[in-house]
């Protein structure tokens, strides 16, 4: 099982999208008409608990779905976002104790988030996390979502990371922090990001940084339904969808079966050669938006999927590893009904030959 911890405004919003998408994914696997087929099974067990709300007892899987509760902890020091979650259709997913909140906010100050609120809410946080963890029989990872620019997300988020490291050192901690864009509206965001990055290097097992700039690019290129807004606001909804999809797809192989399964712990195992070098670049092809005729991200053939995955256009971080850098290791997770092993083999060989420079001691660093 995995527990999702969403901190701060950015984290909460991405988290909401994530739960929405997760429910949709599982719903699409079940037939909507036949109620008997809606079963709470092993794959749902990864993120949800099934509770018989009349008796308030948890049901083990497989069992028919009664009330689903998410395995999550939602933390925010301002009321606004959490209140909107409670007003939204997702409110049934969460129990009251899973919300940890305060009123005044952290004022875009890492120190306030980390030291002040950390100290104040340390016990409450550790209690709630322990409660969630006890409801799992084999906890595999914590997934932390927060932003790096603000106060709560970066400060309190990294405090929680340290707490998780202390309480559960053997459980994998995967963090998807959102780095601020170049023209961010928070002035102290560089300070916050740097202080938070240090904490990430120390305590996280695996960090998949996400950049607002590249998300905007992907949305602009691929989502034809969101027209560029004249008032300069970012299409946050679509951007959050991308990140939520990322987290969902990472865990997809540990939830659903296939000919070659990839467990969540295999990702850090294979891609992190040294404990502190755990920053991964991720990209998704095709970009997860509703298909429309103008959606140019749908690849035209199988080989193109692989090429696109390595192109900087689909990355969630603005870097160019193919031209500027050297790869240490690379991993691919494929969800498809039609792509087979030989396609993968062929493309990996092609890509290695032409486009990618691997570090000399790990020429075959593929997963």
């Amino acid at each position: 099982q995995n527990i999702v911890v969403q901190v701060g405004q950015c984290g909460s919003q991405i988290g909401c999208r994530f739960w929405d998408l997760a429910l949709r994914e599982h719903a699409s696997l079940m037939s909507p008409t036949n109620a008997k087929k809606c079963i709470y099974d092993a794959s749902m067990n990864a993120f949800f608990r099934n509770i018989d709300s009349s008796k308030n007892t948890p049901l083990a899987y497989p069992s028919p779905i009664h009330t689903l509760k998410a395995r999550a902890v939602l933390v925010d020091m301002e009321e606004g976002v959490l209140r909107s979650i409670l007003a939204s259709p997702l409110r049934d997913l969460f129990e009251g104790e899973q919300f940890i909140r305060d009123v005044s906010g952290a004022g875009n100050n890492w120190a306030v988030g980390n030291r002040f609120y950390g100290g104040k809410y340390r016990n409450v946080l550790s209690e709630e996390i322990r409660r969630q963890a006890e409801q799992c029989d084999s906890l595999q990872s914590f997934m932390l979502i927060h932003s790096m620019g603000g106060g709560t997300g970066s400060g309190l988020g990294t405090f929680i990371l340290g707490l998780l490291d202390e309480m559960y050192p053997k459980v994998c901690r995967i963090v998807t922090p959102v780095y601020p864009s170049k023209d961010d509206d928070v002035i102290t965001s560089p300070y916050n990001s740097v202080l938070a990055t240090r904490e990430l290097t120390e305590h996280a097992d695996c960090v998949i940084p996400v950049d607002n700039d590249s998300l905007i690019d992907i949305v602009a290129r691929c989502d034809s339904s969101s027209k560029p807004k004249d008032d300069g606001r970012h299409p946050f909804d679509s951007m959050n969808t991308i990140v939520a999809n990322l987290i969902l797809n990472l865990t997809s192989s540990s939830r659903f079966d296939g000919p070659l399964n990839v467990d969540l712990s295999e990702i850090p195992m294979n891609l992190v050669p040294y404990p502190r070098i755990h920053y991964l670049i991720s990209s998704q092809v095709p970009a997860p938006f509703k298909t429309s005729a103008a959606n140019s991200s749908i690849p035209r053939n199988t080989n193109q999927i692989f090429r696109d995955a390595l192109s900087p256009h689909y990355q969630t971080l603005r870097v160019r590893p193919q031209t500027d850098g050297v790869y240490i290791a690379c991993g691919m997770i494929l969800r498809s009904k039609t792509i087979q092993m030989s396609d993968i083999r062929r493309n990996i060989d092609m890509l290695k030959l032409k486009h990618m420079k691997f570090v000399k001691w790990n020429e075959d660093g593929w997963k």
């Binding site: 084999s138 399964n261 467990d263 969540l264 712990s265 850090p268 195992m269 294979n270 083999r345 075959d364």
Partner: protein
């Protein structure tokens, strides 16, 4: 005399399931039923009885596989024991012999090894259940892959436990060597550690390589006329077909059935040389079978050329190579031929395989090879099938590759912290290097 199969990890479980399917399928095919005379029938019945007794527990009308299915993730085991899937087959797994963990081993050999030590009691308990339901167990057949975490790590631990528990049984481990170009980044570490631990617990290692299986599968699929990419299912198919041709009952010259142990004894003259390879002819896709007939002499000639070329496939062979240019030397060979006709292969075998160049210098000609045959029933749908098991230098190339790549990574101390988390430190790695290098050297000296 029965054999127990240990399916370890995802690869082991998928292959193991297929093995049992293929065994049952073979027992039910009777090509050219018109040819079966009365004597034939009883002999075939004895064959089927022998095979079923070896691999299945039979009672009432049900067949229970003599197997342990062990994995640390739920998904593959769930597929195996799925109600719907079981109903389609004639046999099933005993629930008591299935062990599944929850967390997986994360491609980490050290994690798998530790999972093994935690699961030791359970595994031994299930093994004992199987032992109680068999009259006499001669061979244990673990099946595992070298790249992952469970098959390699837990598998190595399990094989060591089984060796401690049953010191006098034969352990024939089937291993699958991963793709050269990498399917898991730390596969070389995992393979190295597994091989070094397995080498002194097991009696023989039957080596299959994913690269070769992929090529083979591609050839078969392209020949079959259907244009589709090859998948893991195809590769598993080939592996099990080869493996079952070795596992099914076979008879000596005097028509008495012999045990698997007898075959293995012929193949392992020295305790230090344990690597076996399996080459089979003919290599056809299912569709082509109905249209092809072969003569034994052509099959044997192809086989000898494959051997000289150090290859597993009968394509792309350099036919101009003569026996003294052979690229591999062997310590012992065994031929298993299965068909309907009554031909004797001795002359042809002598012509092609009695070359002293093929064998290492300290062997005497009478020990070069042994031939076994079963003449009353064909194998699956093949009219003639010849399997060639040999204890030769062929797998050493892949071992060499594994060692070199691991040494590169080890020199940079990359990925070691994952193993150190479970108390596997540099000394274990170094021991592994030393052992495998010794194996490579002794094979190269043949």
């Amino acid at each position: 005399m029965s054999c127990i199969v240990l399916q370890l990890g995802q690869c082991g479980n998928q292959v193991g399931q297929h093995v049992f399917d293929t065994l049952v399928e073979d027992n039910q095919t009777h090509v050219n039923a018109a040819k079966s005379t009365i004597t034939n029938r009883s002999s075939v019945d004895e064959y089927v009885r022998n095979s079923l007794d070896r691999f299945f527990i039979q009672y009432d009308n049900k067949l229970i596989a003599r197997a342990l299915a062990i994995d640390t993730e739920l998904k593959v085991i769930e597929q195996l024991t799925n109600e719907k899937a079981q109903a389609k087959r004639h046999w099933h797994y005993e629930k008591k012999c299935v062990f599944e963990g929850r967390l997986g081993s994360g491609n980490n050999w050290a994690c798998g090894y530790r999972n093994g030590s935690l699961a030791e009691e359970h595994i031994l308990e299930k093994l004992r259940w199987q032992l109680e339901h068999a009259d006499r167990v001669d061979t244990i057949l673990p099946i595992l892959s070298l790249a992952g975490g469970t098959g390699s790590g837990l598998g190595a631990y399990a094989v060591e436990c089984v060796r401690d528990e049953l010191p006098r049984s034969f352990l024939l481990t089937t291993i699958v060597v991963p793709y050269t170009s990498g399917e898991v980044v730390v596969q070389n570490y995992n393979s190295l550690l597994t091989l070094s631990h397995l080498y002194h617990s097991t009696d023989a290692l039957l080596v299959f390589e994913n690269d070769i299986l992929q090529q083979y599968a591609k050839k078969l699929v392209s020949c079959s006329g259907v244009d589709r990419p090859t998948n893991i299912h195809d590769m598993n198919n080939i592996l099990t077909r080869h493996l079952c041709s070795f596992l099914q009952p076979i008879a000596k010259k005097d028509h008495s059935f012999c045990d698997l142990n007898y075959l293995l004894e012929q193949l392992l003259p020295h305790t230090f040389y344990k690597l076996l390879t399996l080459r089979c002819v003919p290599q056809l896709s299912d569709q082509a079978l109905d249209f092809s007939t072969y003569k034994w002499s052509s099959l044997i000639k192809t086989l000898s050329q494959m051997y000289i070329n150090n290859s597993y496939l009968d394509e792309g062979l350099n036919w101009s190579l003569k026996p003294f240019q052979t690229r591999t030397k062997s310590l012992a060979n065994v031929f298993l031929s299965r068909s309907y006709d009554k031909e004797d292969l001795d002359n042809e075998l002598k012509q092609y395989f009695n070359q002293s160049d093929f064998y290492s210098s300290f062997l005497s000609p009478s020990n070069y090879y042994s031939a076994f045959q079963y003449r009353d029933k064909s194998y699956l749908n093949y009219e003639k099938y010849l399997s060639f098991v040999s204890n030769c230098q062929t797998p050493v190339a892949s071992l060499d590759r594994i060692v070199n790549k691991s040494w590169q990574l080890f020199g940079q101390k990359a990925y070691l912290h994952h193993y150190m988390k479970y108390d596997i430190d540099e000394q274990v790695f170094l021991n592994g290097f030393v052992q495998i290098e010794q194996v490579i050297k002794s094979y190269n000296q043949l």
